[in-house]
Amino acid sequence: MSNYRRAGLVLAAAIVLLVPQPASAQVNLVGYWNPLVADEDFIERVPGPNVGDYAGLPITDAARKRANTWDAGLLTLPEHQCKPHPSTYGFRGVGVLRIWEERNPQTQQLVRLKTHIQWQEQERDIWMDGRPEPSELEAHSWQGFSTGRFEGNVLVVRTTHLKAGWIRRNGLPLSDRATMTERFLRHGDLLTHVMILEDPVYLSEPLVKTNGFAVAPTGTMEPYPCRPAVEVPREAGEVPHHGIDDVPPTREFGQRHGIPEEAAAGGAATALPEYMSTLPSLPLAEPKGDPNEGFGPPPVPAGRGGGGRGRGAGAGAGPAAGTGRGR
């Protein structure tokens, strides 16, 4: 081999290693992801949140009233049965998540990322090509209109044009004026999803939620067809709801779990550590009902040291637990 030929081969290798690649994602999110629903917020995400549990959420009085008068029977109406989770909630659900790319075949530029979550076939487009938001008069959708960009290794997504949805699927509403910002953070086989929700109608401040996914070892996705049917005979036009003077569900939730009704009613202050100091001073109704609701071992009955259902709110901040019902 001549010297020039050798030099040519070396230079060719250098080009392969050094020539800049087309702009592309710094981190690969493509694949199947299992939601880690057992690890945090299990009750909310799997069987469903308790009616009346708004603790820790920065909701407005209007949201609280909507939730307190919400009747789960609403979901039996045919026109409600096939609603998927909106993108503001779907990533906290139980369904397998699949992420894939669509690229321009000529330039290989990333046009969009697509996501699909199994339950009710929630499918999203995350536009990566810089296209502008549609007009405010265009239709809204469950998944909204999403645009994304990479900041280093982090995918940042902004979503508008959402249909009216829910903050939590126990009646806490989200208006169609809500917007969402997300961050997808990958560390090895873990994906942390950070969601920041804003709603000028039903949230008093941005709501930040974080939850995790892990790479699924096998990629399977089942369809989820849905066809509504009349499940409960009703008068035409009947819309199930509770009266504004009815006992709010926060009371029953509080009784079941030894939580003051005011705490169950939520608000931004209930998410802060100092709220643990407030809890002991709040009235606590006599417990009623099974706190585990069938999702754990039966509670230890009183007389054997109680259930420890105390508001021993962090070290030294409240009455010592273990004293019967913690009062």
Partner: protein, 334 residues
């Protein structure tokens, strides 16, 4: 090009529809007429909704336009001052096709104000038969419910009679009428005693789009023109009728698209959300009336407070208070 300005339709509406206080209609008369919008500053925006049906937004109610080889069919004509801009946009979208039909969903000036100009700009054909321009230059065929024609042709409250050229040329007084145009059936469905006594839903059967007039809006609580026969139960019946007609494509989204009287393009799920809200508020007011509460007590109890952030208003033509009062009155409250 003038800058885009969003003009709240209620501001314009009250200027044109001052309603004297009558036994059943106490709503609008209590509000002073605000200034007219600056029409020169309003731009017409068009949106393709589905197939060959478009929505045009400017000042006043949304305009629906269906375009095809037969010509153009228009639903509602906004204010007279917007006519030239709307016609220019329709001409652009249609490639200068003639307007054959104009349909009025109800009598309010922000929906019929451009009637005369639109009629003059159009060319009628006979009863949907495309055999020829039999009527020559008599203008587009203007269809409305009989009650709309009756109100427009006389003094209607504070509204003077409309000029002859603005009056409907074809009316019907039953439950429905229909036209076959641009390859599809267009059903005109009368919805009694809803927003007014002459409301019409326009359903484009093949394009799968329904224009609702002000029976459905997504910008405010439903406006109930009690002086012109509007009632809360009629609004709710109209919303349920829309829901009966619409069929979602999948997962309660898409499929039949809905063009509201005011606001953004919608589908069944959006109408359901609105219907639920209106029904719940009606039920609450009704429950309070059964308990013997007065109107003042009902207002103080806040039957709408969990929806006010989205639909309510504390000033302007249609406030939360006037809505609650209209619900109360049309449920029989004195």
């Amino acid at each position: 090009m003038p800058a885009r300005v969003f003009v709240h339709p209620r501001v314009a509406l009250v200027a044109a529809t001052m309603v004297a206080a009558v036994v059943a209609g106490v709503v609008a008369a209590q509000q002073a007429p605000p200034q007219q919008p600056n029409f020169d500053a309003v731009t017409v925006r068009s949106f393709r909704v589905q197939d060959n049906v478009y929505m045009l937004a400017g000042a006043g109610g949304n305009v629906t336009v269906q375009i095809g080889n037969d010509g153009v069919l228009v639903v509602d004509t906004q204010f007279a001052q917007m006519a030239e801009k709307l016609l220019a946009e329709i001409a652009r979208l249609s490639g200068n096709q003639p307007i054959r039909y104009v349909i009025d969903t109800h009598v309010h000036p922000d929906h019929v104000g451009g009637n005369e100009r639109f009629r003059r700009a159009g060319r009628a054909i006979v009863a949907g038969n495309v055999a020829g321009d039999v009527r020559g230059n008599e203008g587009a065929t203007l269809i409305a419910h009989e009650t709309v024609a009756a109100r427009m042709s006389r003094q209607d409250g504070a509204t003077p009679p409309a000029p002859a050229g603005a009056l409907p040329t074809d009316t019907f007084f039953g439950e429905r009428d229909e036209v076959f145009f641009n390859g599809e059936a267009v059903r005109l469905i009368h919805q009694p005693a809803a927003h007014t006594d002459g409301d019409m839903l326009v359903f484009f059967r093949r394009s799968d789009v329904i224009a609702t007039g002000d029976v459905y809006v997504n910008t405010s609580y439903p406006v109930i023109d009690t002086a012109r026969g509007g009632t809360i139960n009629g609004i709710i019946a109209g919303l349920n009728r829309i829901i009966d007609i619409t069929v979602p494509r999948d997962k309660q989204e898409g499929g039949t698209m809905v063009i509201p009287g005011h606001g953004r393009i919608a589908d069944e799920a959006d109408v359901v959300e609105y219907r639920d809200m209106v029904t719940i508020v009606r039920d609450r007011v009704q429950e309070m009336m059964k308990k013997g509460m007065t109107l003042a007590q009902i207002k103080a109890a806040g039957p709408t407070s969990d929806y006010d952030g989205r639909y309510g208003a504390t000033s302007g033509f249609w406030t939360t208070d006037t809505f609650v009062e209209a619900v109360y009155r049309t449920l029989g409250g004195k």
